[in-house]
């Protein structure tokens, strides 16, 4: 069985419009694949299908050969498919540390124990270690005990990244993680993504910042109106005339 994430023949429609039309995609452990394309091409739809937020009309999604198709999002997360959101979905009242605690605890494949109804919500040793490591990675240690509601957008994106990677996911789906980040924050983000991949996590990166895509991605997949129109190395893909017409515009 193929290791990593496999997407085969995925199709989704929204009221007659085909948002995804037979998309195939493979993501091996440790690989960073860039997913680019014009707005409305189906990138977020693809991420939502893999994450379980959206049900596909046809096609299959599997992780290490095991199908994920009928699983709700929380079970996929417990299998190791974690994601970030284009519109951030943080928990404003919780601190950064509490975010990470919730994430690392909830992902345990065994699920919730009855004793957790009355425990003190403290991480065990292994969890604490994972939380501290994630905090260091995204550089939020000084702000670890601040309620996320008071953090600016850039920091919230990093909280989402940390929440997804705490405890080491098999697959990280990053939906425009650099959107709204300033160059300094974007640099932190790039470092984090590279190190996550270095530990064997497959990263699917939706991104409009082509400099970041060029710098990070092993492979680039271009979507247009729900179909893969090109894939290969960054240079190959950007040289493709179809891609230039559909995505890059006259600036390229």
């Amino acid at each position: 069985m193929a290791e990593g994430l496999a997407v085969e023949g995925l199709s989704v429609g929204f009221g007659g419009v085909r948002a995804l039309d037979g998309v195939d995609l493979a993501l091996r452990p440790g690989e960073i694949v860039g997913l680019v394309g014009p707005n409305g091409a189906g990138k977020s739809t693809l991420i939502n299908c893999v994450g379980g937020q959206l049900e596909a009309a046809a096609g299959r999604v599997s992780l290490d050969g095991a199908p994920l198709d009928s699983m709700p999002p929380y079970l996929r997360a417990r299998r190791g498919v974690l994601r970030t959101f284009q519109r951030i979905a943080v928990f404003p009242e919780l601190t950064v540390r509490e975010h990470l605690f919730v994430a690392v605890r909830a992902r345990r494949p065994a699920g919730t124990r009855w004793s957790e109804l009355v425990d003190r919500a403290q991480p065990n040793e292994a969890e604490a270690l994972a939380i501290e490591e994630a905090l260091d990675r995204v550089g939020l240690r000084e702000r670890a005990d601040v309620a996320v509601a008071t953090l600016p957008l850039g920091a919230c994106r990093l909280v989402e990244i940390a929440r997804a990677l705490v405890g080491g996911p098999r697959v990280l789906l990053a939906d425009e993680p650099s959107s709204g980040l300033d160059p300094r924050e974007a640099e932190t983000l790039a470092t984090v993504l590279r190190s996550v991949a270095g530990q064997g996590t497959g990263v699917l990166l939706v991104e409009h910042d082509l400099a970041m895509v060029a710098e990070l991605c092993d492979r680039v997949v271009v979507l247009h109106v729900g179909r893969v129109i090109a894939q290969g190395s960054f240079a190959e893909v950007m040289a493709d005339p179809t891609v230039q017409r559909a995505y890059l515009g006259h600036a390229a």
């Binding site: 519109r87 919780l94 957790e116 600016p152």
Partner: protein, 668 residues
């Protein structure tokens, strides 16, 4: 066939009364963004004024002008100006609770001002009610029925016209989606919404006056039932489609007409199923129609302009002050307990005891709304389940009441867990409506039976006997101690969950269900757990309530109590266990104090009115009045202590939060 028609035809005008209210609900929802429970109360208020005026000899036309053309829009203007305008467009809970508050408060206010004397049906607006104008399939059609059908037809045309084509309709729809975005176009959104509210209130007034002659006497209860039945008709049109709401209303009326024709009046179908049909339909629609589930999905694109909510005061106040306040609170509680046991007179001891029992029931709302983030409108039903189980066990099987109360709590827990199953995919308004439908199903199809809600004269629930001590009426102070112990245990339980891992999961789910699921939190398990535990608390409280009262009837637990409970707890403070206790004690103490007032002012309605009107402050302080006052006073004290230092949570400079890329690539 002719029998069929003779049953079906009279159902049409009856269904048209549903339809008129249903279309009014759709109009209000579409033009104000508020699901207006208050519609029933507004209709009643206009009908009341109209009835009073015509009863005093005022002619029909001036009475109509005053009650519908002048007073109804004025009421809408006031509601908008002082209540709904202050609520953020996306705050579903606040909008829902405020509307429910008006629903329970306004009729009580009317009764307070005008008295509760029986008032007979007012004259119809334009047709002679007794005159039979023609026969349809050999069924006589009288003026009353004809007038209702004509009004419904006129309403469908008028409401559709406002919503569909006109420029005003366009502007109103934009204002509902985002008042601020519309202001960027140079439009005064506040005025637009004012007009919308006035229009919707006019519609409510018109419906009220049209429907008043249908009932022999004027009673709010008829309007309340009408409103909740109309919900089903409105749901059939997804709360958006006006003609479908008309069709839905007429269908419901015809089905009821057929039902009451074919089933014999004594059959179980007639007494049990028939009154429950609208709520059954509503429940099924809510669970099955995807568009109803998605009602609350859109967001205000400019919500990023709002500053973040201030943190809970307990989290921000200094440690010394915290200690002082805790000590003070405990001293106060201890003083109250000692007072009750020593010098407080019997009627006040009883009042305070019932306050403790209410606090236990209200804790169930802390759990489901404060921690679970959902508004439930069937908490009194859960309480009733606990009370009736305990009472029936005691009466028929001689089970001791304390044991019976635990069994009752367990029974409610099971009911809550089962009730959560259809609600798994719902949140916000649709979920609240589903709980209301469940409450009404229980009211109509379960509690009326003697095996459930007891015999017509009331179900006897004994006082507990502990060892050789009987806590019968003579010694209600013993019951006070018992209730106190149980309340403390419940508070400890809720606080434990708040602090536990599961409490964190609930925080996460409340803030962002999609984010919480993406890290592995199981939303269904959490919802079932919260509903079950909340129902168990309510059931335990209900059983104790029964034991305290010693005799209970289904009307002690009907859906209107669920509504009052939610208003009382949410306006007091739903996020903390303290809020539930303050709500419980405040509710009974206020009622007892007001009972010293003379005449109808002391009859009990005033307390409900006061709580309903405190919902006005709730709009500006969604954390609850008590929580807000706590913050205010803590800040004052801290400022005093620090000699003019900064408020505790101010930081020197911290950047504003910029919203995420709203809306872009939704379908990408």
């Amino acid at each position: 066939m002719s029998t069929f028609l003779s049953y079906a035809v009279p159902g049409v005008p009856f269904g048209c009364t549903y339809a008129i209210v249903a279309m009014g609900l759709v109009l209000t929802y579409r033009t104000t963004g508020v699901f207006n429970f208050a519609f029933g109360a507004q209709a009643y208020a206009s009908a009341f004024v109209y009835t009073v005026l015509t009863g005093q000899g005022v002619a029909v036309l001036p009475a109509f002008l005053i009650s519908v053309v002048v007073l109804a829009p004025a009421r809408g203007w006031i509601l908008d100006r002082y209540l709904f305008r202050r609520i953020a467009a996306t705050n579903t809970t606040a909008k829902l609770v405020s509307a429910v508050a008006i629903f329970v408060g306004l009729p009580q206010l009317v009764t307070l001002v005008f008295g509760s004397a029986t008032r007979f049906a007012p004259p119809t607006l334009f047709l002679n009610p007794a005159n039979v104008y023609f026969h349809l399939f050999s069924t006589p059609v009288n003026g009353l029925e004809l007038e209702t059908v004509i009004a419904a037809a006129a309403a469908v045309v008028a409401v559709s016209a406002v919503l569909r084509s006109s420029r005003l309709g366009l502007t109103i729809r934009a204002a509902v989606e985002s008042p601020r975005l519309l202001e960027l176009e140079g439009v005064r959104s506040d005025r637009v919404l004012s007009v919308a509210w006035m229009g919707s209130s006019f519609m409510a007034g018109l419906a009220g006056v049209l429907l008043a002659p249908q009932y022999p006497t004027l009673q709010f209860n008829d309007y309340a039932i009408l409103l909740v039945a109309a919900l089903a008709a409105a749901a059939l049109g997804d709360l958006a489609n006006v003609p479908m709401a008309l069709v839905g209303g007429v269908l419901l009326g015809v089905v009821e007409g057929l039902g009451s024709g074919y089933f014999s009046p004594s059959s179980i179908w007639h007494t049990g199923l028939l009154p429950a049909i609208p709520f059954l339909v509503l429940a099924v629609l809510l669970v099955t129609r995807p568009r109803l589930r998605a009602l609350e999905d859109s967001e205000d694109p400019l919500s990023g302009c709002d500053p973040p909510p201030p943190p809970s005061i307990i989290a921000t106040r200094g440690p010394e002050l915290d200690r002082i306040i805790r000590l003070g609170g405990r001293a106060l509680a201890l003083g109250a307990v000692i007072s009750v046991l020593t010098w407080v007179p019997g009627n006040w001891a009883f009042t305070l005891t019932s306050g403790l029992v209410y606090s236990i029931m209200f804790l169930s709302i802390t759990l489901i709304t404060g921690m679970g983030g959902e508004v439930s409108l069937c908490q009194a039903t859960f309480a009733g389940a606990g009370a009736f189980i305990a009472g029936q066990l005691a009466v028929h099987h001689g089970v001791p009441i304390l044991l019976g109360s635990l069994v009752g709590a367990l029974g409610a827990l099971v009911v809550g867990a089962i009730g959560a199953l259809p609600a798994l995919r719902l949140r916000g308004l649709p979920l609240a409506l589903l709980t209301l439908a469940l409450a009404l199903l229980a009211d109509n199809a379960v509690f009326p039976y003697s095996w459930a809600g007891g015999p017509p004269g009331g179900l006897f629930v004994p006082r507990p006997v502990i060892g050789s001590i009987s806590l019968a009426t003579t010694s209600s102070k013993g019951f006070f101690v018992l209730a106190l112990v149980i309340l403390v245990l419940c508070v400890i339980g809720v606080k434990l969950i708040q602090r536990a891992t599961v409490g964190r999961y609930l925080d996460a789910l409340r803030a962002s269900p999609i984010g919480a699921q993406s890290v592995g939190i199981n939303p269904s398990a959490a919802k079932i757990l919260v509903f079950a535990l909340s129902a168990a608390l309510a059931g335990l409280g209900g059983a104790l309530f029964g034991s305290l009262q010693q005799s209970i009837t289904p009307s002690d637990f009907n859906y209107q109590f669920s509504l009052v409970f939610v208003v009382v707890v949410v306006t007091t403070g739903v996020r903390t266990t303290e809020g539930a206790i303050q709500a419980g004690m405040g509710f009974v103490v206020l009622q007892q104090l007001l009972s010293y007032l003379p005449g109808r002012w002391g009859a009990g309605g005033l307390a409900v009115v006061l709580f309903a009107f405190s919902a006005l402050t709730y709009a500006s302080h969604p954390e609850g009045v008590v929580e807000y006052q706590k913050r205010l006073w803590t800040e004052r004290v801290e400022r005093l202590v620090r000699h003019g230092g900064q408020p505790p949570y101010t930081m020197a400079t911290s950047p504003p939060k910029e919203p995420a890329t709203a809306g872009s690539d939704h379908h990408g």
